[in-house]
């Protein structure tokens, strides 16, 4: 792979940093502004749920497929929801072909943890018959264009996909699963709406939603997932270090920004309607 860090020259690095110090960003945003989110739900006819989400020029198309499987023995009445990410080379010359690399593992894991620990997907509702049959959901994210901050874009993409989902409803006939003829929708599955919010850090400057050049020059990032009142997941990456006070400040900010974003995006509008 190209050495990502070398795509940006030392001059650019200085320029970006100096601008950030002056609280100026190349695209005119303030330090705590998001780029624009654009959401198209149900983009993929073959999927049981899907969303095409852009954050600025970063674009992720996510789809949901399902299977019926036997539950894990230690969670006999819970379904499973897995998140996968593919950073395909179409999206950037920085991505290479081959098995998932560290960056795609990170994207999937951070989005997954933001969802998992917020009691977002009600896995007990994905149970058809305890110990016998549960839904296994596959939420697969494909990065179509990469312009920085995949995580926040992926978080909204995965969440919208789940909300838009519509699965055939199964019941246990004593031996096998059969279709009731009805459907099971995102409204039945999704409980909380956790949002993951990512900040970059260069030297001692912290800013929201890094775009690609900012991501390439920054020392590190921190992604904080939260519901209305609680922090549910944190992931620091890169070699930046954060002071204890900075962490507290960012947790605080995340609750605040999350609240606003949750209202602005109004994701429930994308729920499936045919029941």
């Amino acid at each position: 792979m190209m050495d990502v860090k070398r795509v940006i020259s030392t001059i650019e690095r200085k320029y970006i940093k100096n601008n950030l110090k002056k609280e100026e960003r190349f695209d005119g945003r303030g330090l705590w502004d998001y780029r624009e989110f654009k959401i198209t739900p149900n983009f993929v006819a073959s999927a049981e749920g899907s969303a095409d989400v852009s954050l600025g020029e970063t674009r992720i198309i996510t789809g949901l497929k399902y299977d019926i499987g036997t539950p894990f023995p230690d969670l006999p009445d819970e379904g499973v929801c897995t998140i996968m990410a593919e950073l395909i080379p179409l999206a950037s010359p920085l991505f290479e072909r081959g098995p998932p690399d560290e960056q795609s593992i990170e994207l999937a894991r951070v989005v997954d943890r933001g969802i998992r620990h917020a009691d977002c997907v009600q896995t007990k509702k994905l149970c058809i018959e305890a110990e016998k049959a549960v839904y296994i959901l596959f939420v697969d994210m494909y990065v179509i264009n990469y312009e920085g901050n995949l995580i926040d874009c992926g978080g909204v993409s995965a969440l919208t996909t789940l909300i838009s989902a519509q699965l055939p409803e199964g019941k246990w006939n004593g031996e096998d699963v059969e279709w009731t003829g009805g459907y099971f929708t995102g409204k039945d599955i999704v409980n909380e709406l956790p949002l993951v919010i990512t900040y970059g850090k260069i030297d001692d400057i912290i800013f929201l939603d890094p775009d690609l050049p900012e991501e390439l020059v920054c020392d590190g990032r921190i992604s904080i997932s939260s519901t209305e009142e609680k922090i549910t997941s944190i992931q620091k990456s890169g070699i930046a270090t954060f002071s204890f006070d900075e962490i507290k400040m960012l947790c605080n900010k995340s609750l605040e920004i999350g609240k606003k974003l949750r209202k602005d995006l109004n994701l429930w509008q994308y729920k499936a309607n045919n029941e």
Binding site: F43, V44, I68, M84, P89, L90, Y142, I144, N145
Partner: protein, 256 residues
């Protein structure tokens, strides 16, 4: 465990009124929509919606060949990577590219190479990445068609565009542009690509059962239908140039 809903096919592929299940006549194409210059990070890109197919193509190059031993000292190489998203099909596809995807990649590369001047680019590679986001029959043809647009969008010299579509036989009748269900439940499937600079066939596959007369007819139908698709390709490129033209004029206007 068996999925709740099986991917079953209807017994008949024609309605009582003689129309196909999606309402089309035998020689009618599904709705097709194309766009170019849709992916900012690629040297050229295009997007196609063809029936329910949704496919992106991105072109990078000429650029260095990785791994290096694949480069050729006397000409450029064309590499195509056709992939399907896991959720683009009825049963979730495994994430890793399978044999089918590799085979189709090779076929598309062979089919596009005749229109390129690779001998002008020794030691380099053109790489085309194709991602099928939603699949509904004929993805290899739609991919070829959109990849040819992406090459043009990248400004790479070409002898002509390439247009591909699948024709075939369903319920004993010859039809053009098989849908997903027609592809699976029909009797014969013939993907074909035409390189317009010489009016010849650069992709030809066939699976089914046809006598010589049927083959003759269906090839003729294919060419007629391809001409309609070609027109859409050309107009998509024209629209782009018109819009660029307008931008330039607007800027000039602004300068005055």
């Amino acid at each position: 465990m068996v999925l709740l809903i099986k991917d079953e096919y209807p017994e008949k592929l024609f309605q009582e009124n003689g129309k196909r299940l999606d309402g089309r006549d035998k020689k009618e194409l599904r709705p097709i929509k194309m766009e170019v210059d849709i992916l900012k990070n690629a040297d050229g890109s295009a997007y196609i919606e063809w029936g329910n197919n949704k496919i992106f193509a991105a072109v990078f190059g000429p650029r260095e060949v990785h791994p290096h031993h694949l480069s050729k000292p006397d000409r450029g190489v064309l590499r195509v990577f056709y992939r399907m998203a896991t959720y683009s099909v009825f049963d979730r596809k495994r994430p890793a590219p399978g044999r089918r995807e590799k085979e189709i990649s090779m076929i598309i590369a062979d089919c596009l190479e005749p229109v390129l001047f690779l001998e002008l680019y020794p030691g380099t590679a053109f790489e085309i990445f194709i991602e099928v986001i939603d699949a509904d029959g004929g993805t290899r043809c739609a991919s070829t068609t959109v990849a040819s647009l992406a090459l043009a969008d990248a400004g790479i010299p070409m002898k002509s565009l390439v247009t591909a579509l699948a024709v075939g036989k369903i319920d004993g009748e010859l039809v053009v542009d098989l849908s997903g269900i027609e592809d699976k439940a029909g009797e014969a499937d013939l993907p074909i690509a035409i390189t317009w600079f010489n009016d010849e066939i650069s992709l030809l596959q066939f699976d089914g059962d046809m006598d010589l007369a049927e083959l003759d007819t269906v090839l003729k139908d294919a060419k007629e239908a391809a001409e309609k698709i070609y027109e859409i390709q050309v107009n998509t490129l024209k629209d782009k140039y018109i819009s660029i033209q307008k931008n330039i004029e607007n800027e000039k206007g602004g300068e005055d």
